[in-house]
């Protein structure tokens, strides 16, 4: 098996990397770009915000090669479907992308996605020809509904954005994976490469990481660590992870002990 024989396929497009990376919270755009390269990612998220007179020149996209990365605008900050659709349309018209990471998070305290508005925005954007990757509550029924609405992936949260608490929603994500026919991307809350490996081992299609890389003491090294964690987890999933058992089972022979009869 090599990475070319096991692509991640989203909306018909093939990716070698199963690690999506966000660009927020890095100490500098230069470090962000180095970390992105070290992560091996091919899909990078950006936010869209107002720029006012006298804003600093230069842009995050000046640091990212569009040949190497798919730039995935998010709708962060949107509080309802209307605001999210507005952001997506702006990004498309502006030539950024017709792919969108749909985020509808009305409450700043927990940034949990609004299920009703997320589904509504997905329906609207898919009809307009967008490739929609919705950030979602880990709910298998919602995952089915989003898929039926034409979502290109489903992106259940492991734990709230930026918390680094890992996968607190494992059972629900397993149910989503069992049913889904689009890639399941575990997004939010992955705080360590072991969390990414865990998600990949239990069958996630990909993971999205931002805070854990960006706020590490050495973001470039952490990006590489997440790359390895993601790859290790995927490889283990394909290899067939050994079953859990309640009783010990010796891995060494139970005969031929020294001093026996």
């Amino acid at each position: 098996m090599n990475e070319f024989s096991d692509p991640l396929i989203i909306a018909g497009r093939r990716f070698r990397s199963r690690l999506l990376v966000g660009t927020g919270k890095f100490p500098s755009p230069e470090l962000m770009a180095k970390a992105a390269a070290a992560s091996g990612t091919e899909i990078i998220t950006v936010a869209l915000r107002r720029v006012d007179a006298g804003a600093a020149q230069g842009n995050i996209l000046d640091h990212l090669d569009p040949e190497r990365y798919l730039i995935l605008p998010n709708t962060s900050g949107a509080r309802d479907a209307e605001e999210a659709v507005r952001l997506a349309r702006l990004a498309k018209a502006g030539g950024i992308s017709d792919w969108v990471k749909l985020e509808v998070t009305p409450h700043p305290a927990h940034l949990l996605p609004d299920t009703v508005e997320t589904l509504k925005a997905t329906e609207i954007l898919v009809k307009e020809g967008f490739v929609v990757l919705p950030y979602m509550q880990p709910d298998p029924i919602l995952a089915r509904q989003l898929e039926e609405a034409g979502a290109a992936t489903v992106m259940p949260l492991g734990s709230p954005i930026g918390t680094n608490r890992g996968i607190q929603t494992r059972d629900a994500i397993l149910m989503i994976i069992a049913e889904a026919s689009v890639p399941v991307v575990v997004d939010a809350g992955l705080g360590a490469p072991s969390h990414a490996a865990d998600a990949m081992e239990f069958g996630a299609g990909a993971v999205l990481v931002n805070t854990a890389i960006a706020t590490a003491e050495d973001p470039v090294a952490m990006a590489r660590a997440f790359r390895l964690g993601t790859e290790a987890g995927r490889m283990a999933y394909l290899a067939g992870t050994a079953r859990e058992k309640s009783n010990a089972e010796a891995s060494s022979p139970l005969t031929g002990f020294l001093g026996g009869q």
Partner: protein, 67 residues
């Protein structure tokens, strides 16, 4: 009227003039800006040929670092 609203703030705009002039006045490079005029997104290829009229409401945005 002689004014436009840009990102929620009022700005003097006495007569109809091209959008690139506004961006220039704001010190913004055209390369990555995203423009919404009166609620409608402006296609990148149309930025140069778009005219801003007094009374227009604009949102000027750009990609930023984010997850």
């Amino acid at each position: 009227m002689g004014e436009i609203i840009v990102n929620g703030k009022t700005r003097a705009w006495p007569v109809a003039a091209p959008l690139p002039r506004l961006l220039e006045e704001m010190g913004l490079t055209v390369k990555w800006v995203l423009v919404e005029r009166n609620g409608e997104p402006v296609e990148r290829v149309a930025i140069g040929s778009t005219t801003i009229e007094p009374g227009d409401r604009l949102e000027i945005a750009a990609p930023m670092a984010g997850g």
